[in-house]
Amino acid sequence: MKELIQIHNLSFSFGKQQVLAELTANFYASELTVILGRNGSGKSTLFNILSGMERLYKGEVLFGSQDRKHIKSGKNSGFRIGFMTQFHQTTFPFTVFDVVLTGRAAFSRFAPSQVDLDLVAENLRAFRLWHLKDKPYTALSGGERQLVLLCRILVQQPDVLLLDEPTNHLDLHYQVAVMEHLKRLVETGTTVVSVMHDPNLALLYGDRFYVMQDKKLHELEEKDPAVLLSTLENTYNVALTDVQHAGRTFIIPKRKPL
């Protein structure tokens, strides 16, 4: 397995408050890497650094052999990096089709080409969103918007896909649909790094797992259920119990007696 993203001694502070402290981790090519952790543990900050939105950090972030700060955006950059953030609101009621089409903006300078239009149609159909194509984006439900934004990122056919809670707002049907789609992308060579909240969904689909704790990333070894359980208990600060099914470990919280 090739290391695609190397993070070395990464530190970041908001003013006096340190968020990341000498964080070191590697993410591998053509894998689905999952980052778990509590709210406010610094996952989104790490995400912002990887996506290039936050540049005032100390330490080293390499994509392949290139420094993240030197990777230019655009179709001719060494890495096409697509990312999806958690919160998005738009002022104008663009149609779903037009919103997704903007995902191709790096490819056609002036008007969108036929290839651009075809890719939008293909992705909307893959997520069964085609019937919404002429609806205003602002009239969609939270889950539908999330899927539309995911389509928008995917039409640029990124090499690296960075996602911050992609299954947020989605019902179980779409959670599975999104994870299955990500899995297919990984099989065709895309590298996916995703922040997730549901450990079971993560364990079901992920290839490699990290937990964010104490301003650092710790790799989770899935193989030993006892270690997994205690690490996650420690991370989330709740009592957990594990369930073995079909050779996989799943975890559920222990209910406190009334």
């Binding site: 939105m53 955006s73 990096i81 990312f83 998005h88 104008f92 009621p93 663009f94 056609s108 008007a111």
Partner: protein
């Protein structure tokens, strides 16, 4: 199907209004048949290269007075509307227009300054001060992390106020004749239109509109926000810079040639969004067509109804406001931003 019809109207409407506007004016109404006759004569003349031949009075009125005025009016209307639409998209803010960002008042000050002290051409001075005003607005509202839309409108209002104050100082300092010229001009007037003015305005406005039309698809991306542009591999900074520069250029040229026409650039983009939706790929053309036609109709109205010249800015508001309020109520435009 319905969209096709709308687009057809978009093309036909300006042509029809342009043609019929020629029949109206203070010297009297020229009938359709006569108008067709004179147009045909002009075309024949043009073909046979007999332009040196002397014109009749009617021909002079048509081709030297009315036609340049009509063309200038259309260009100014289109420029203000497109500029407003572009700025609203880029700043993701439906209450922004060339006026509220300080461009208009900066350009007005620049133009008045060069009317008073003619060191550089009015157009250039208007453009430079328009750029200065929008630049200050942007700098004041820039807070390091991201630019808040509310702060931007607030600082735009402040900058507008400052340049309006400077304009007042200029008016106070100038002699009565120049004062009259400046005051009349700030109210927005079209009766001074001439082929010279059309020529001066054509290059910056025509060129600016063409460049904006070429970049129109990118406006959709910019309207989603900086982060969403980065997320799909586009650095929005340069393209924003270019587009705001173009919008400033066309606004400043419009202001320099006919004076301030306030709120026109705010209202027309809303009207074209209500009719054609928010997609800027068609919106830019809709703004050109609706903006040009609308200002032309307003000017026709003021020429046909009043025996004397009323500054066009007055009727823009008196006719534009009810129409805008009607459309806004009817479509229940509800901005939750």
């Amino acid at each position: 199907m319905q969209q096709r019809l709308k687009i057809l109207l978009l093309v036909l409407m300006p042509l029809v209004v342009l043609f019929f506007s020629l029949s109206l004016g203070s010297t009297g109404y020229i009938g359709i048949l006569d108008l067709t006759h004179y147009t045909w004569m002009a075309v024949q003349r043009f073909w046979s290269e007999m332009l040196g031949e002397s014109y009749t009075d009617t021909e002079t009125i048509l081709w030297q007075v009315r036609l340049p005025r009509i063309l200038l009016t259309f260009m100014v209307g289109a420029a203000l509307a497109v500029s407003g639409g572009v700025l609203q998209a880029i700043f993701r803010n439906p209450i922004v227009d060339p006026f509220s960002l300080g461009i208009s008042s900066g350009a007005a000050f620049g133009a008045a300054l060069s009317m008073l002290i003619p060191l550089i051409p009015i157009n250039l001075s208007a453009f430079l001060f328009g750029v200065l005003a929008v630049g200050i607005t942007y700098l004041v509202s820039y807070s390091g992390v991201r630019t808040s839309l509310i702060t931007m409108v607030l600082s735009g209002m402040i900058i507008t106020g400052v340049f309006t104050a400077f304009l007042t100082i200029l008016q106070y300092l100038s002699d009565p004749y120049k004062l009259q010229a400046i005051v009349q001009w700030t109210m927005g007037n079209l009766h001074t239109a001439s082929w010279d003015k059309v020529q001066t305005a054509f290059l910056p406005i025509g060129g600016g509109l063409a460049a904006i039309a070429a970049l129109r698809w990118k406006l959709n991306l910019l309207a989603l926000g900086d982060q969403e542009a980065l997320a799909v591999g586009v650095n929005p900074r340069n393209i924003k810079f270019i587009i705001v520069g173009l919008a400033t250029m066309i606004t400043a040229s419009a202001v320099a040639s006919v004076g301030m026409i306030s709120l026109f650039g705010l209202i027309v983009p809303h009207i074209s969004r209500i009719v054609f939706g928010p997609n800027n790929q068609i919106g830019v053309f809709a703004n050109m067509s609706i903006g040009g036609t609308f200002l032309l109709l307003i000017d026709d109205f003021s020429r046909a109804v009043m025996p004397f010249e009323i500054p066009v800015g007055v009727f823009t508001m008196i006719l534009g406001a009810p129409l805008f309020i009607y459309l806004m109520r009817k479509n229940a435009v509800n901005w939750n931003a």
